[in-house]
Subunit: 257 residues, 6 copies
């Protein structure tokens, strides 16, 4: 089976896809701390893996991952103070996504999906899309559909209930926790060391932020809630969930066969 990754594809292969109207998925990641037990690349690996799975399922292709994202925030990912968390300014991230989308549109792509793997990227990917739609309108492109999601928002309620028997505490505290750890144990088990998993209690944040952040708000490990029950099987189920359900959404919105 031919690759779905643009990076692995020759230009004539890509040109064929454009002629056939193949959708293009653009994974947007980050380089951010993920506790003692997971690597800095989690937020790039996961949307790339999810995108690859979807692409295979629906007949799409995957653009090269944007490996850096917006600055980590304490309440979402531990914050920028963790060594290794290396980020783009807002304007850089907006421009990066905008440029990639603009060039894909130039090549003929009219069905583009931005698959975000880092919560802090959300609004900046939206602005990139708003701007590229303005650019496209100025060039007379009128038949463009852009899809955008944080992949975890597709987690099915019954799976959530299974993963969090005591009740789902919300995506806010899921940084480096059960969902991401399970996914990584499925996708890149070689990069997860459950033996080093921190035993921190869940982070507790007030309903505001201070800059600089106060000592004690973020657990020392950077893990925002306990991840001890994560396992590869849960990761497999999550991946299956995302591939099926995001795939179904793309089929519907892009009117795919």
């Amino acid at each position: 089976m031919a690759t779905v990754l643009m990076q692995e594809m020759t230009w004539p292969a890509f040109a064929d896809h454009m002629k056939r109207g193949t959708p293009v998925l653009v994974p947007v990641g980050a380089t951010e701390q993920h506790g003692y037990h997971m690597p800095l690349g989690v937020d790039a690996y996961l949307p790339t893996a999810v995108s690859t799975g979807i692409a295979k399922a629906v007949g799409a292709i995957v653009a090269p991952t944007i490996n850096y994202g917006y600055k980590s925030q304490p309440k979402m990912g531990g914050g920028p103070a963790f060594p290794g968390t290396t980020s783009f300014d807002a304007s850089t991230l907006i421009s990066a996504v905008r440029d990639v989308l603009r060039d894909l549109i130039r090549h003929g792509a009219r069905k583009i999906a931005v698959i975000n793997g880092h919560y802090e990227n959300q609004m900046f990917t939206i602005e990139a899309i708003e701007l590229v739609r303005r650019d496209a309108a100025m060039l007379g492109v009128t038949d463009l559909t852009i899809f955008r999601c944080e992949y975890w928002d597709f987690t099915r309620k019954d799976l959530l209930a299974k993963l969090f028997p005591a009740g789902f505490p919300g995506y806010d505290l899921e940084h480096a926790a059960i969902l991401e750890t399970s996914m990584m144990l499925h996708v890149r088990p070689d990069l997860v060391d459950m033996a080093r998993l921190a035993n921190d209690p869940p982070a507790k944040f007030p309903p505001y932020e201070t800059f600089p952040v106060r000592d004690g708000w973020v657990p020392p490990s950077g893990v925002l809630s306990p991840a001890g029950t994560a396992d590869a099987e849960k990761g497999r189920l999550l991946m299956e969930n995302y591939v099926e359900d995001i795939g179904a959404a793309l089929r519907k919105e892009f009117a795919l066969a």
Copy 2:
């Protein structure tokens, strides 16, 4: 042996590197056509592989690759018209490299090397470095050394002579040709299909450019000079050359043990 890739590393492992003064290499790539026989990701794969080799040799680490570069130019890489060639505007590339370097400096990195794999990126990586040095000076950082190169500029004369028995035609026309094809046959042979290699004669360019480019200047395949003598052994020798000689340069400039 521990990984040298930041993406595969936990934040405490990265923090240890910062405490020890480990140099950080930043590969800057592109998504650009490379003929019928090689994929769009060549300019990202190769500087990543070279950087990884150097990092292992000298005790450095490698930041996540910037997978998009400046717009391909006809005389350097075939030009932006080839389907799949997907690029950043100049300001985006400058900002992307600047932001990554600025955050590495914030984490304590004082020995940073930008390893460029796409000729068109040269001046924009220079501007990124000039700007981040200004930023650093404004924050009082005075002990910073930044190294920058196009990796191919380290090709030894004797190896060049061996690879080009009829005389080296210059790096200008080496896009998707003997050097890059050999390197890819060494690094990612699964992504090279020599059977599909175009048989175009070398491109001939006048000493100027026109926008739009004229028909016939760029060979239909996008390969700027014949690559039929490329092989994996040549790729191995080139890789060895780069790892040894860029490594030696880094040891000298960063005063490594």
Copy 3:
């Protein structure tokens, strides 16, 4: 009692505040549709009123409101297609907040609170704060504390329970709904016409976005969930809640007497 609004204050009065270390609150709003029954200025009026209440309570002052915010999104505020929704690009909003904060810091302010009244502004106000902290660091300012919140995140659980006897559906769908309508009935009853309140059922959104948005996702009125039980007394309680609790947070974080 002297005014707390910078706009109503002479410069010597402001200068006195700076000498005394008075905190400055910066309300950031928007110009956005709020259904058939409320005006375009809701997201500017409310954070201004909340800020004014807090300022009186804790001895702070209030900078002039930024009357335009980031582009409305369908799932948060109905989307940009509603006539009258008039917005800043991301870069403009970031720069606007950054410039105001930078000048306040120049005047000597060291305790600044950004009070946001439009959900879409969240990440852009964060970037403004991150950038102004970088600017300040470059100028040697090291004793700066910036506080930031969406005011509604301080709603007490018991008050939420009272307002939503059938369970709180989440802030997501609260655009132009019970909370905002009650607040406006308290703050500017002259601008609310409950007779024109739409009877739309709650909006239902999928876990993703499309650009352009699909017909039928956003109710015709722009109100995202029923607001019929809103009243001025609820607004009074909410205002009291925000003034007391944000005030308490500021007292703590700014170490006020």
Copy 4:
């Protein structure tokens, strides 16, 4: 009578205006010192009040005021050193006005007037208009008329003669002086304290600027010429003058009934 202020208007009311081709006035202000006797908001209050008066007279509507303007200059408004003078960078002001105009055009506005209340804003509002016209042209909008003025330039000669029996010294020195003080005594008398009016002689500036400004160029109060003869009746006459004459100009240029 229905409100003319966009902030007080529902979106269907705004949509009706767009359908009828109603002109939109955009007041651009500043937050700037105005002596011991007037507040920091003068340059925002006055163009808003003038715009509101005109809108009622000619059947236009008024967009939310941009409350911050370009940096005060010593010869025009006392300079940035006065506490409380809080400003946008040039690029921010240009973008703010451009974005508001662009969105109004998107909603269908084709007759837009920028009413400036702060001399330093002049050229930046011009650039905003030049850029938005370029944007509009790129989107195929060709029937756009934009009007721009500093409201005080409409002061009738006979009224000037009456206000300045000893001869009008020029608008240059009118900062916080007779015109603005009279207008404020008419519009917001509660915010003017004539008892605190400084008794400084007129400022004398050389035909150049220095950065930093020299001591003694700007009177300590920030008032650039004596304002002791200001009164509310003069303010009423000025307001009447502006409403009638700017209104007449708009009727002519926008071909209103």
Copy 5:
């Protein structure tokens, strides 16, 4: 006598100036229509000539002229519609002046004068200076004085009276008129053709602008008021006036011997 023009100077000669604290003058021009009788370069030639004269008189040097300025406005210079009027966007002009000043400061210049020859440039050169002062402060430079003027503001009252026996109509309408024509007849008589001078009456503008400009506001020639009495002797007197008086101002402000 050694040249005062940086362009004509070797770097060691420039370095000597920096060691001695020599002031640097930066002429900022434009490329703009100047009627049927004068060339597009007037606004670049004149500030360059004035700067050169001053430099010789006070022992300063002159940086290369910025040959493009901000967009011509109808009421100041005829407007952008005249063929040949070729301009920078505001952000470009601000950056151009800022960059030149920043690099001069880097070389050690602490006494810098911006000599403006195009009215529309005024506020943008001010912003450039404000920004470069911020940059310099971030780098710890505290002993910087920047002088800025439009050279014509130094015209002595008695000379004005002589040139305009019927009363000076104001600088507003002096575009391509008596002052500039006389100066050009003195500085570059080869580029003035008085035989082609248009006989248009003075332009009459209302106290506002429209975009697009209305037919008939700007005389067909682009000359805003009659220039028939211009002659080279008047130009000589004006030049003498400017060199002496701007020179005296620089001596005072830069504390020159």
Copy 6:
């Protein structure tokens, strides 16, 4: 014969050129050290002189020179540390060239040539052209041809052989050396002092850069290779070469008579 310089031309003369489809050449220069024997303006003088020669030969006109270029690099021009080397940031240079081209296109120019005189400008002039082509496309301009070159790339092989009897060392080291010195001796002999020519051996650079540059890489004079054999006759031949051959290329590419 009428002038070919836009700066010396009236607007009606320029308008005539636009009606006739005259090509416009835009010289882009720099302000950069050129050794002890040549002035800072070499990189502005030479492309201006070359452009003027070509314009006369082919019936083109020459826009005002952009006198500042991108930051000098040690391996190309000695580097930014030489006093007097005064440069634009990348974004400023890109915008400057883009704005000039955009306005020329607005006036009707459809055949534009960018003649670069400073190696470091190459990629930034390319980006300016790429961006202005995007702008033009958004405005529906489709018949635009832009030509771009570094003028020295047209040096004929036989002339090179004559100038460098011992073999041409490459353009890399030609900064302030035989080619530029000969050209200046032809164009502006008054600004060359061969008596002060440094006797430095050729610079030797490694195949990489460090920031900051290492001591000893750049000869103290800033001349990168010996220029003792330069003379005016060689300059005359070079100028003839460029005028003829760039002229011929323009005739071909612009389909001139």
